[in-house]
Each structure stands twice: as structure tokens, then as C-alpha cells.
Amino acid sequence: MPKEPIEITPAGSVVPVYLEEPTAEELAERQAEHEAAEAAKAAKEATRESALAKLAKLGLTEEELATLSV
């Protein structure tokens, strides 16, 4: 259930400022999003490592590959 916003407007702010703490469900959802993003990043890195390993077997470095024109 959403919590009631609490006004925390500091001196100097020209508009009202509210504290709206996230619910437990929102926090869990954000954590799941973060884990999914990290997993996707790890998968990309694994693909890159695999490609580099294949290049090494061919006797090429990443820099040498970059100089090749297609």
C-alpha cells in the first residue's frame, strides 16, 4: 500500500517537496530490474571474451582485427 507523502520542503525551494518512500513491492521490483541489467551486462562480456578467445586461436589480437578492412 502506498505511503502518504510527507512534506519536507526546505527553505529556499520555490515549490513543495515531498518524501515519497517506495513500497516493499517497488523496492523488490527495482532490485529485479538491477539484477536483470547486471545479467545482461555479464552476458555481453562473456560473448566478448568468447570472441577474443576465438581471435587468439586464429593468431589475431583485437587491435589487429580492428585494422582489417572488410
Binding site: P10, V15, E20
Partner: protein, 189 residues
Amino acid sequence: MTRSRQTADWGSRAGLAKIVPSSVAVGSGTGSADSLGTVTFSGASSVSLNGIFTSTYENYKIKVILTTSGNATVSARYRASNSDITSANYDLYGFYVGYSSALTRVSSNGQTQWGLLSLNTNKGTFDFELSQPNAAVFKINFVKCYSSSSGDQVDYAIPFSTGTVADGLSIYVNTGTISGTIRVLGYNN
């Protein structure tokens, strides 16, 4: 050779107008808005700007500069009537390139947020170009993001595939907090 150029006298309607939100909400920490519309926040798990999109302007530029307290993904959502819009209409198409990694295509749709960029206690910039957020139309938007220390850069089209009218925007992290500033500018029609 003299070249003549046709110009329009836009007067005070030329260029970009600074927009002051009607209110600001933070998930934790502190927030503030000055008379020029600069929203400053610190130690916030989220920062939400209400009442920034109206019928006065059709298109908007939003400049966000922030630092995360830890390793976290920075995400964004539209808001309506002081609440985040959580429908599965957030799409993201573009590319990601890092200092030490190759160009990677990114394509996802039907998400409940725009997951933009991971930062690890370093500064990031997020430049939004939003079209017609306050109109009941499919919205075509763009964002460029950059991480100051990792050199990661993303360039995305971020459509919002529904006619839901938005009047605000939230920026949040999945874990920890963010500190920084947001400025909203409206393109004069």
C-alpha cells in the same frame, strides 16, 4: 556575395523556456527547486518532477547530471497526477559502447521503465529529448547518456507506446541513492 536569409521575429517566444515543476518528490534524502527551475537532490533513491509537461509546450529537453552512491542502474519513467506510470509501454532501441567494449545493439520493448545506464559511484549525464509527452499520442523520444569514469555511452530512441498523457518524470536507481541536478526546458512552439 551577400546571402539573404528569411527569419521570423519570435521575440520572447524564441528558443527554450525554463520550466519550474509544480512540486518535487524524493524517495529519500532531500530535494529543492529554485526560481529558474533547477531541481537539486541529494541522497535520493528517486527524484520525481511533477507538473513539468503541459499544453504550453509540445516538446522538451531535460538535462540530468547525477552521481550514484554505488553500483546502480539509472532508470526513468513518465508520471501522471503525481504517480509513476508503470504500464508496460516503455521501449528502448539504440546502441551502447564502452571504453573497453565494442558497439552493442540494444533493443527491448514493453518494459515498465526505461533502464538507461549503470553507474558505479561516478557521474553520469542524461540528455532527454521528449516529444509531445502531454498529448494523447504515441510518443517518440531520444536520450543520450554518458558515464564520466567508465566512458560508457548510450544513444537510445525511447518511444512510449501508448497515448497516456504524462505531466511529469521520475529518475530512480535500483539500489542506493543519487545526488545531482535536473533542468527542464520547453521548446517554444
